[in-house]
C-alpha cells in the first residue's frame, strides 16, 4: 500500500522544524505552587516526637540509615531526615514491616553487645564498629533481596533489605513523599530539584546539530 501521494521526503522537511525548547504552559506555575504547598506541609509536620518508634529505636534506626548512606562532604541519611520518613512509613504504607524492625533492631543490638562488651546497642558503637557489625549481621542473615528494577514492599522479614529500601526511599523520594529533607538526597546524587527543564540537559546533547537522514532513498526496504 502506498497511501495517497505524500512522499516520505516531504514529511521529513515538513516536520523538520524542531521545537527547540519545551513550552511551559500557563497552568504550570499553579502545579508548582501546589507541589510546594505539599512540600511545606510535610516539613511543618515533621514530628518532634516519633509516632511509632521509641526514642531508643529511632536512635538505632538513624545509626543504621547513616551506615547505609553515610555523611561525607555530601549529605547523608541523617541530613535527609530519613528516620522521620521511616517512622511515618511504619504507621502508613509499611505498617506490616514493624515486627521486622522490632526483631531486627533487637537482634542487631544483641550482636553489638556480644561482639563489643560494654557497648549497649548498635548506636553506641563507634562508626568503625558499626560497619563491622552491620557487615556481620548481613552475612549472618542472608543478602537483602535487591529486586532487579523497581520497588516492592519487602514482606520477607528480611530486616536489612527492608530498612535499606526505606532508607533509599526516605533519602531520595520527592519531598512531597515525606523524605529527602531540603533535597539533601538529591544534592548527594547531583539532581537539580527544579520541576521543569529545557534542553540541552547535559554534556552530550549540547551542540547537537539536529537529526539528519544518512540513508539514501534507495536504501528504503
Amino acid at each position: 500500500m502506498k497511501p495517497a501521494g505524500v512522499a516520505r521526503r516531504d514529511f521529513l522537511f515538513q516536520a523538520g522544524s524542531a521545537v527547540g525548547a519545551a513550552w511551559i504552559s500557563a497552568q504550570w506555575p499553579a502545579v508548582v505552587a501546589a507541589a510546594q504547598h505539599a512540600h511545606e506541609a510535610v516539613r511543618s509536620a515533621t514530628p518532634v516526637n516519633f509516632q511509632v518508634l521509641t526514642p531508643s529505636q529511632a536512635r538505632e534506626v538513624e545509626a543504621i540509615a547513616s551506615q547505609i548512606i553515610p555523611t561525607d562532604e555530601l549529605p547523608g541519611a541523617r541530613e535527609a531526615g530519613v528516620v522521620y520518613f521511616i517512622d511515618r512509613a511504619l504507621h502508613t504504607f509499611a505498617k506490616d514491616s514493624l515486627p521486622t524492625y522490632e526483631k531486627g533492631l533487637a537482634a542487631l543490638n544483641r550482636a553489638s553487645s556480644t561482639k563489643y562488651p560494654g557497648v549497649k546497642s548498635f548506636a553506641d558503637a563507634s562508626p568503625e564498629q558499626q560497619e563491622i557489625l552491620l557487615t556481620g549481621f548481613i552475612q549472618e542473615h542472608g543478602p537483602q533481596s535487591a529486586g532487579a528494577r523497581g520497588i516492592g514492599p519487602n514482606a520477607s522479614g528480611d530486616f536489612f533489605g527492608t530498612i535499606r529500601m526505606h532508607t533509599l526511599l526516605g533519602f531520595l523520594v520527592d519531598p512531597s513523599g515525606g523524605g529527602n529533607r531540603d533535597y539533601a538526597g538529591w544534592k548527594a546524587i547531583d539532581r537539580d530539584p527544579a520541576r521543569s527543564f529545557s534542553p540541552p540537559f547535559g554534556f552530550y546533547d549540547k551542540g547537537y546539530p539536529g537529526w539528519q537522514p544518512t540513508w539514501p532513498e534507495s536504501e528504503k526496504k
Partner: protein, 554 residues
C-alpha cells in the same frame, strides 16, 4: 467543554456500557459518544485528575496509586499447566481512569505490514500458534494516522527507512533529543544502523487544555501533571464527557456480564466503592479491561448457558498470552548526561525489525531504544552496575557518580503465541472481593529466549561503540511478570480458533465486543498501545455502522 456532566442510573438501558477506561476504552468512549450514543464507562480504579498526580515514588511504586494492588487483587503464577500456581505478583496494569496510558512510557510505534501476516510468511513454528490477523496493515493505516492526530503523537515521518507507508505526517515535531539519544545515535550509525527520533505519545507542542512536555523527568510510572502525556485521561476522556452523553463511573469493579435466555448480554454487573452490586443495563457491552482482566471477566461470567465462560466456545479465552520479549543493557559514561530530565526515550532503531531466521537462528525481531527513565529511589535500588556495594561510602560514591551518567538500551521484541501461556481463574486464591484470582501460566518459547540473548548482545555492542566506561545487561531469564498483556482473546475469522471477529464482536454473543491488547493476534515488536488505540478507533467505526444499521441485537 462546559456541558454539564451526564449521569445515568444503572437501570437506564444505555446504548453501550464500556468496561475499562484505558487506551482502548477511552477511545471507544470518545468515538461512540461523539457519534450520538449514550455511553457508561465503568472503571475499576479511581478518577484522578492531572492536578492530583505527584512525583512521589512511594505513592506510585509502593502504594500502587495508579496500578493494580497485589494485596487487594493477588495473582498467582506457574510455569506450566502441570504446576500448582503460587501467589506472586505476575501482572501490572493501570487501575485508574485512563488505565495504563496514564503511567506508560508512551513509545508509539506502529506495527509493520509483517506483523499482520507472520503465519503466511513463515509458516508453522513448533510449539507456537502463529496466525494471520483478519485485517492488514493497510486497513489499519488510516486509524494509526487518526491516533497520531487525535491523541497527539510527536515524531518525524519517514525518518526510519523501515517504517511502513503512512498517509499523513505526524501532527507535531519530535521531542528534543536527550543525551542518551545522541550517544545512541552516534554509536548506532557507526555500526551501520538507522536510528531515528522516537515517535512518542507526548506533546512537543501544546494543545487546548494540555501543555507541551516540560521535561520534569517523572514520566514512566507517573501520571503527567500537565497533560502532556497523551493518555486516554488527558486526550480522550475530556472529549467524551464534553459530548454530554458519556458518563465515566470510577471505582466500579465489573465481575460479570450477565446474559438473557437468548444469549444476549444485558449489561455489566459491578461492585461500587462500597461493594454494593449493581447491574448497568446496556444494549451492548464492550470490554476493554486489558489482556488480563478481559479474559478473566469472560471466565468469571460462566453460567449454565456458558459453562466454559462467556464467548468461550473456542476454549481459547485467556490463551496465547504474549508479554513481548525484552532485554535491557545499561552503560555509564564519562561526562554527565543528566537524563533524569525529560521524558524517557528519544531515539530508536528498527534495523532488527525483521531478522533473517537463517542468519540468526531464531524467528522474530524488534527495536532498540535509548532511554533513561529511572526516578531517584528506583535508580538507587536497581540502576547501579552489578557488584556495586549495597550500602556505605562506596555505594554512595557510585550513586553520586552514576545517577547523572547512566543510560539504558531497551530491546523490545516479539513473543510467540503459545497456547498454554495464559490467564485463567485460580481455583484456590481469591481477591478482596471474594472473586477467583487471576492465574498466569507462562514459559517463554525457547525461540524467544534465544532472541533476547541476541538482542542483549547487540545492545552491548552499541554501548561499546558509544565508548561506555562500564556496561552490563540484565540476565536473560524466563519471564514471570507481564506488563504487555496481549493476545488472550485473539481476533480471527474462524470461531473455532478465535474469540472475536474483525469487527471486535465476539463470535458467540452478538452484542458483546472486546477491544484491548487481548484482541492482538501476534505481539508486534513491543509497543502495543499505539495499535490498541488504532484498533479501538477502527472498532468504534465498525460498531457505529453495526448499531446504526440495526445489526446489534440488544
Amino acid at each position: 467543554m462546559n456541558q454539564p456532566k451526564v449521569a445515568y442510573q444503572p437501570s437506564d438501558e444505555v446504548d453501550f456500557v464500556i468496561v475499562g477506561s484505558g487506551a482502548a476504552g477511552g477511545v471507544l468512549a470518545k468515538e461512540l459518544s461523539s457519534n450520538g450514543f449514550r455511553v457508561v464507562v465503568l472503571e475499576q480504579g479511581p478518577y484522578l485528575k492531572e492536578a492530583e498526580f505527584s512525583h512521589n515514588e512511594v505513592e506510585v511504586f509502593v502504594q500502587h496509586q495508579l496500578t493494580n494492588n497485589p494485596k487487594l487483587q493477588p495473582t498467582t503464577f506457574r510455569k506450566t499447566p502441570q504446576d500448582k500456581a503460587q501467589v506472586q505478583p505476575s501482572v501490572m496494569y493501570g487501575r485508574c481512569v485512563g488505565g495504563s496510558s496514564v503511567h506508560f512510557t508512551a513509545n508509539f510505534w506502529r506495527l509493520h505490514e509483517i506483523d499482520f501476516v507472520e503465519h503466511s510468511k513463515v509458516g508453522d513454528i513448533p510449539g507456537a500458534a502463529l496466525a494471520d490477523w483478519p485485517i492488514t496493515y493497510s486497513e489499519l493505516e488510516p486509524y494509526y494516522t487518526k491516533v497520531e492526530w487525535e491523541v497527539g503523537v510527536s515524531g518525524l515521518a519517514g525518518a526510519s527507512p523501515f517504517d511502513p507507508p503512512r498517509s499523513k505526517p505526524y501532527p507535531m515535531a519530535p521531542l528534543p533529543v536527550k543525551g542518551c539519544g545522541v550517544i545512541f545515535e552516534r554509536a548506532a550509525r557507526k555500526l551501520g544502523y538507522h536510528p531515528f527520533p522516537a515517535p512518542m505519545a507526548i506533546l512537543s507542542q501544546p494543545r487546548p487544555g494540555r501543555s507541551a512536555c516540560v521535561n520534569c523527568g517523572f514520566c514512566l510510572g507517573f501520571g503527567c501533571e500537565v497533560g502532556a502525556k497523551s493518555s486516554s485521561l488527558s486526550a480522550m476522556i475530556p472529549v467524551a464527557e464534553a459530548t454530554g452523553r458519556c458518563e465515566i463511573r470510577p471505582n466500579c469493579y465489573v465481575h460479570q456480564i450477565p446474559t438473557d435466555k437468548n444469549g444476549r448480554a444485558t449489561g455489566a454487573l459491578y461492585f461500587d466503592a462500597k461493594r454494593n452490586t449493581h447491574l448497568q443495563k446496556a444494549k451492548a457491552v464492550i470490554v476493554c479491561a486489558n489482556g488480563a482482566e478481559t479474559p478473566r471477566l469472560l471466565l468469571l461470567s460462566a453460567s449454565a448457558q456458558h459453562p466454559n465462560g462467556l464467548a468461550n466456545s473456542s476454549g481459547i479465552v485467556g490463551k496465547h498470552l504474549m508479554p513481548n520479549s525484552a532485554a535491557i543493557a545499561s552503560g555509564v559514561f564519562e561526562e554527565q548526561l543528566n537524563d533524569y530530565k525529560g521524558f524517557t526515550v528519544s531515539r530508536v532503531f528498527h534495523d532488527f525489525y525483521e531478522l533473517e531466521e537463517k542468519k540468526v537462528g531464531f524467528y522474530g525481531g524488534g527495536g532498540l531504544d535509548a532511554r533513561f527513565g529511572a526516578t531517584p529511589a528506583s535508580f538507587a535500588m536497581g540502576g547501579l552496575p552489578p557488584g556495586t556495594p549495597k550500602w556505605g561510602k562506596e555505594f554512595k560514591k557510585v550513586l553520586h557518580q552514576n545517577y547523572t551518567r547512566s543510560m539504558d538500551i531497551f530491546c523490545h521484541a516479539t513473543s510467540l503465541p503459545v497456547e498454554s501461556n495464559s490467564f485463567s481463574l485460580d481455583p484456590d486464591v481469591r481477591d478482596a472481593w471474594g472473586l477467583p484470582a487471576l492465574r498466569m501460566t507462562y514459559r517463554d518459547h525457547p525461540n524467544d529466549l534465544k532472541m533476547m540473548e541476541w538482542m542483549a548482545a547487540r545492545a552491548m555492542e552499541v554501548l561499546d561503540a558509544a565508548g561506555a566506561k562500564q556496561k552490563w545487561h540484565l540476565p536473560i531469564q524466563e519471564q514471570q511478570f507481564a506488563v504487555h498483556l496481549l493476545g488472550t482473546c485473539r481476533m480471527g475469522k474462524d470461531p473455532k480458533s478465535s474469540v472475536i471477529n474483525a469487527d471486535h464482536r465476539t463470535h458467540d454473543v452478538p452484542n458483546l465486543f472486546l477491544c484491548d491488547g487481548s484482541s492482538m493476534v501476534t505481539s508486534g515488536r513491543g509497543q502495543p498501545t499505539m495499535t490498541i488505540q488504532a484498533l479501538a478507533f477502527r472498532a468504534a467505526d465498525r460498531i457505529t455502522v453495526l448499531a446504526k444499521s440495526g445489526e446489534i441485537p440488544g
